[in-house]
Symmetry: C2
DNA sequence: AATATTAATATGTACATACATAATAAAGTC
DNA sequence: GACTTTATTATGTATGTACATATTAATATT
């Protein structure tokens, strides 16, 4: 067989996707089984499998053993968000990065914080407030709680010099990260810290991480006014 | 070889990930090549390849032909957001879904809208304003522009009955979707539509879609107060 | 008819092999 | 030294085969 004519899995994916787009296979429809598509296209089943893997991850089709492949009836719009280290984010915008530690003390975590970890029993955690600046202007205000039983080393880190954000992400990899986004009105304190108006609408990025089942940290990153978070590709 | 002892690609991934987590391979470090890992673990290279594919997609490692595999120096926190059809989202919360068309007319798109499509020349687009309700309470206010040259069929759709959101996602698949999130203060109009206070902080989900290089639609979904957007697994 | 058991089946995985591709390193040229 | 050309090499892909696994469908059992 002429190798130049061989289909790549991206070709196969695109052709199947095209058939979904032009409604040859409409939402809810069942697709032929991989073997049939492979024979139809003149390629190996594993090539179809690779294409289907991609379509499945994109949320376009759903696959079940024995059940076959179906076009998702209720298509979802799926996107990926990347949250880099704040320093890097600022520097990639071509701004000068600065960082200020506002507060750092052990505290009994309030219920709202415990809830993010899925814990009930009150426990003392390291509470950190810090400000990230871009070109000397407040950029992100972070309100963080770190679990010192999972991450005892954090007690020896000079958080006035290096942000917990940076230290954690470089030194404490996580296996699970829950994230959420919401809007909040700038309180008196927050407005003062971010040097903005009381009542301004601010985007909050909340993240909670674990290693295995051990909680690492939870953070509310309150962004400055006008902040916009974009998805990747 | 005893098949029961064979490593699955998830095992391989987990073991490599563990070595990254315990800093055997620290950020920026180069990993052994697939062949070596395969021999080390006693599995086929393709199994390592599958594991690496996953780690690469998760943003944990970076792979380059000939260059090899490196642990990402500046780790990013990566997450996936799924935006379902609004009806489905409301119903999955166990609420009654309703929908109201507020406005629907052809209009010259303002520059801000054209910019989202990456267009310069002013053009007339279908402008739609609509309200999604959950248990009779305003849930999401959508402000949408549809490109009628790409989607002429939309002109024949009764948007008073079926939301453009739903119709488009079911009938006009897209190949590209740009998304962004930000916070906004409720204007007089928005506050009235969402039945909330003037100046409330609201999360806006902005999406723009294309099929190939043809623009389909762009929408600002202004959520009601307290709305929180979560990432997937 | 409802339930448990068994068979059938489409997708998923593991492996070996051969080749493709993109980056890098080495060698050659001016 | 600066530039171009040419190997070299690690990852990526395509294929075939053999099994594993999860689900559905069929059958037997109560």
């Amino acid at each position: 067989m002429n190798r130049d004519l061989r289909l790549s899995w991206t070709d196969v994916r695109d052709r199947i996707q095209a058939r979904i787009f032009d409604r040859t296979y409409a939402p809810g429809d069942k697709l032929p089984k991989d073997d049939e598509i492979a024979e139809d296209f003149g390629c190996a089943r594993s090539t179809v499998q690779r294409a289907m893997q991609d379509l499945s991850q994109s949320g376009i089709v759903e696959r079940r053993r024995k059940g076959g492949t179906t076009v998702r009836a209720d298509p979802v719009t799926r996107a990926t968000v990347d949250i880099p280290i704040t320093r890097r984010e600022v520097e990639e915008r071509g701004c000068k990065y600065d960082y200020q530690l506002i507060r750092r003390e052990m505290e009994i975590a309030p219920k709202s914080v415990l809830a993010r970890f899925g814990m009930k029993v009150p426990i003392s955690l390291l509470h950190i407030e810090a400000l990230h600046l871009a070109d000397n202007r407040p950029y992100i205000l972070e309100d963080r709680w770190v679990c010192t039983t999972t991450v005892p080393e954090i007690m020896n880190v000079d958080l006035a010099q290096k942000s917990a954000n940076e230290w954690l992400v470089r030194n404490k990899p996580f296996s699970r990260c829950d994230m959420s986004f919401y809007a909040t009105k700038a309180s008196h304190d927050v407005a003062a810290q971010l040097d903005t108006e009381l009542g301004d609408a601010l985007l909050v990025i909340e993240r909670t991480t674990w290693i295995g089942s051990e909680p690492i940290t939870t953070v509310q990153a309150v962004t400055s006014p006008g902040y916009q978070l974009f998805t990747q590709g």
